[in-house]
């Protein structure tokens, strides 16, 4: 795997370099390798959530305690966090989210499309800065910049990783 293609390795290193201590997620197939890298990192506490909204609240609590958090989710999860984003915005908590997209090109599950299509606008309406990585080579730099903006300027930032980068979920696997 080329360095550019190994975006999970690059993102993990960036989060480690930025001192991220808590990594919260509802899993997605596209996040599997990043989650494994974080689980294997003794400096990171991984927290599996029952709903993505817990991650927004958890990140706020971690910041109150002096820790940095990354919240990982699939685009469908963005629909679950909308009201909790008001906590981050009203109190100006830093929030860094990495969102793997569903419902895009070649998606085979029609049920994923409504939330996939709405994801960037929902985030923007809620006051979250949105970056979108269309190419695998863009992910690490974009995520690093977004995370830095979040923690160092107490901003809400999301990086959407296009389904073309992740690959389409196959029900044959």
């Amino acid at each position: 795997m080329s360095a550019a293609a190994d975006w999970p390795g690059g993102v993990h290193r960036a989060l480690s370099d930025l001192g991220v201590g808590q990594v919260a997620f509802v899993p997605d197939a596209g996040l599997t390798r990043l989650i494994k890298l974080c689980e294997a990192d003794s400096g990171m506490r991984t927290i599996v959530l029952t709903s993505e909204q817990e991650g927004i609240a958890l990140a706020a609590g971690a910041w109150l305690g002096g820790a940095r958090t990354a919240v990982l989710m699939q685009s469908s999860g963005v629909g679950n966090i909308v009201n909790m984003l008001s906590l981050a915005r009203t109190c100006r908590f830093p929030l860094f989210m990495l969102v793997t997209m569903r419902g895009e090109r070649d998606e085979v599950n029609e049920w994923q499309k409504p939330m996939g299509e709405a994801t960037p606008r929902v985030l923007e309406l809620a006051g979250v800065g949105v970056r979108r990585a269309e190419q695998v080579g863009e992910v690490v730099e974009m995520a690093t910049q977004a995370a830095r903006d979040a923690y160092e300027s107490e901003r809400r930032e999301a990086v959407l990783i296009a389904q073309a980068v992740i690959g389409v979920k196959s029900f044959d696997e």
């Binding site: 599996v48 909204q53 958890l58 609590g61 305690g65 002096g66 009201n83 909790m84 906590l87 009203t90």
Partner: protein
């Protein structure tokens, strides 16, 4: 089962009395006013929204500050909206996180409509089923007295479901500017460098 006898203000005062610098997360609505009635404190993080978020905020804080006891005091309606977070806490098993639900079986801020606990939903049983090592229901003054030593001392995560009367109490409002609440909390907990 007899009617609840405990008053919420006295319960919250008892839960905060010997906090000894422990940070507290207060779920939206009456628990915020109850804590304000005890006295404003920079280590109170009171929610004016974010319903369902009190427990996961407490979890993030407890994991970030493992040497400090972290108190979450919230209402039954707020807890019911975040039931999944009890499962998340149980998996993480933070020994320093304690949760008290001030359970008046009502949605107090919206007209005192009955919550699910009024119909028999048992929050302590749910927490125990999730895997909390300590989860108990408190019905009266004797139960509260017995619950206070574990609240301050037993390894958590711990949940107390404390049944209280639904009688109205006077409004006592603490500051509500979110940035201010966050910054003063961090300064009190982490020092002035934290707000630079």
């Amino acid at each position: 089962m007899s009617a609840p006898s405990l008053g919420r203000r006295a319960v919250v005062a008892a839960l905060l009395k010997d906090r000894d610098g422990a940070p507290a997360v207060l779920g939206l609505g009456a628990c915020v006013w109850d804590a304000a009635a005890v006295g404003d404190d920079p280590l109170n993080f009171g929610l004016w929204g974010a319903m369902g978020g009190a427990v996961p905020i407490g979890l993030g804080l407890a994991l970030a500050q493992p040497e400090r006891r972290v108190l979450v005091i919230t209402g039954d309606g707020e807890m019911l909206m975040g039931l999944g977070s009890l499962a998340t806490v149980a998996v993480q098993r933070p020994s320093n996180l304690v949760i008290a639900v001030i359970d008046n079986e009502r949605y107090g801020e919206t007209g005192m409509q009955p919550t699910h606990t009024a119909h028999g939903v048992d929050l302590a049983a749910i927490a125990a089923g999730a895997g909390f090592p300590v989860a108990r229901r408190v019905d009266d003054a004797a139960g509260l007295s017995a619950a206070l030593p574990p609240w301050y001392g037993a390894p958590g995560p711990l949940l107390l479901d404390i049944k209280v009367t639904a009688e109205p109490v006077p409004l006592v409002l603490p500051p509500r500017d979110g940035e201010h609440l966050k910054d003063r909390f961090r300064e009190a907990l982490l020092g002035s460098i934290s707000v630079l």
